[in-house]
């Protein structure tokens, strides 16, 4: 573990071992340095449940308003993720009903259909690379469905989000200095796309989220065109990679733990509990950033105004102080207060969408392909940051 946490207690979150199996490093961090420091930047990294939750619930001290948005090809902050209460609350009141559990459940049959179609494409082969064959396309089709956009635009969006999140992908010769221009160009394509889509809906309203946003009002005033574009940007960036990564983490765990998998196959009613427990244990969105607005002390360590703090959700979710038998994966855990979707006012807007997609995907997959394993001789590869299983070769009998 020395390579993830060095002798002076500095943490390298971008180490591949950490992306593959972060739980041992989490335990060491909570024990040795609950408020640690990142390698290179020296920025604070917070790992105890109590501290992480406190920070999430105090946006006036741990703010989401940061100057970093340009790194993602945006021209303005994404709404509502990169703005704080009270302005953020007004947007959440408007957006929450469109992402409520009830609304998201209405999409379940379409997601199940897409999942079956994807599996139909490879089931007879007895193998697939799970990330590209299933985990990437499924959330994207759900996103298109939700917004009321044509499925034929799937590849446009997949390229777009890769250019923004992973500008190095498919560009072996490109120097990292140029990544920012790749991102900005993708950001501009994204704004253009949604400008056109909104124009079409203003001319011919439909029964979809974009039409609803184009008519939405806050305190009697219409949202501006930029407001809507800034919401759409967030939906694209937050809604695709996160569920993709969670699907990959779940399947890696279940492929490596056949006894647990068999329980889900024999008893599909355990799936919702398994989704929660794997969100806790795997925490694919490992951390969220916050800007420290004024000096504050956590676990005896002083954080300074202006520092960029990393709240380690994964470490909080495996904290023995707050979860009984925290290091055991228990699909029937009675009390599961994980913060995989964050907490406080910025609780993930898409959490009910994600939960529905994960449940449906797990149900459909195990109905069709109950027995599978990681391809012998192969090792899954994970990306740092958000833990996407970039390479997950699965095999099964046909």
């Amino acid at each position: 573990m020395a390579s993830v946490i060095d002798e002076s207690g500095r943490v390298n979150l971008f180490h591949e071992e950490f992306a593959r199996c972060p739980q041992p490093a989490y335990a060491e961090l909570r024990r040795r340095c609950p408020v640690g420091r990142m390698v290179l930047s020296g920025a604070p990294i917070i790992s105890r449940y109590e501290d992480v939750l406190w920070a999430l619930r105090h946006p006036e001290i741990f703010s989401s308003e940061m100057e970093l948005q340009m790194q993602l090809g945006t021209e303005r902050p994404m709404i509502p993720q990169q703005i704080d209460p009270p302005a953020q609350t007004r947007y959440r009141k408007l957006l929450d009903p469109h992402f409520s559990r009830r609304k998201m459940e209405e999409l379940a049959p379409a997601v199940a259909r897409h999942a079956r179609e994807l599996i139909d494409g490879f089931a007879a082969k007895g193998e697939c690379e799970f990330d590209s064959a299933f985990a990437i396309p499924l959330p994207c089709t759900a996103f298109l469905h939700l917004l009321g956009l044509p499925l034929s635009d799937l590849s446009f969006f997949l390229e777009l989000k890769d250019d923004i999140i992973r500008p190095h992908k498919g560009r072996p010769g490109v120097h990292p200095d140029e990544f920012q221009s790749v991102r900005s160009a993708a950001g501009a394509r994204n704004y253009d796309y949604f400008r056109r889509a909104l124009d079409e809906r203003e001319a011919r309203p439909r029964d979809d989220l974009l039409t609803a946003l184009s008519r939405a009002e806050i305190d009697g005033e219409r949202l501006t065109r930029n407001d809507i574009l800034d919401i759409c940007f967030l939906l694209l960036l937050a809604g695709l990679d996160t569920v993709t990564s969670t699907l990959g983490c779940n399947m890696t765990y279940l492929a490596a733990n056949p006894d647990q998998r068999r329980r889900l196959v024999d008893q599909p009613s355990l799936i919702p509990g398994a989704v929660e427990e794997l969100l806790r244990w795997e925490t694919p969105v490992v951390a969220v950033p916050r800007v420290v607005k004024r000096d504050v002390t956590l676990s005896g360590v002083e954080l300074k105004e202006g520092e960029l703090a990393t709240l380690l959700l994964g470490a909080a979710n495996t904290d023995d102080e707050h979860f009984e038998d925290a290091q055991r994966v228990d699909f029937e855990r009675e009390r599961n207060i994980h913060a995989a979707f964050g907490a406080g006012p910025h609780r993930c807007l898409g959490s009910h969408l994600a939960r529905m997609e994960l449940r449906v995907a797990m149900e459909v997959w195990h109905e069709r392909i109950p027995d599978y394993a990681i391809k012998p001789g192969e090792t899954p590869r994970f990306s740092p940051g958000i833990r996407e299983a970039l390479y997950l070769p699965l095999v099964w009998d046909v």
């Binding site: 929450d96 409520s100 959490s351 009910h352």
Partner: protein, 63 residues
């Protein structure tokens, strides 16, 4: 058993009305609404699950 909900703490995780649907329901925003403040005996176990699984600690049970 009575339920005391701190609405200011609720941010809409939705665990309560999923795990204890006879005791809690969701409003339009997906925030918690208590169906009946006085919990019927047969739903006390549900009420406990809802209370235990609120990540914001917004639900309290009073005997």
């Amino acid at each position: 058993m009575r339920i005391r909900l701190d609405r200011a703490k609720c941010v809409g995780h939705g665990r309560c009305y999923v795990l204890a649907p006879d005791v809690f329901e969701d409003d339009e925003r997906g925030h918690c609404v208590v169906r009946k403040e006085e919990v019927p005996k047969e739903f006390e176990e549900q009420a406990r699950r809802g209370e235990q699984n609120c990540p914001e600690g917004a639900i309290a049970l009073v005997d």
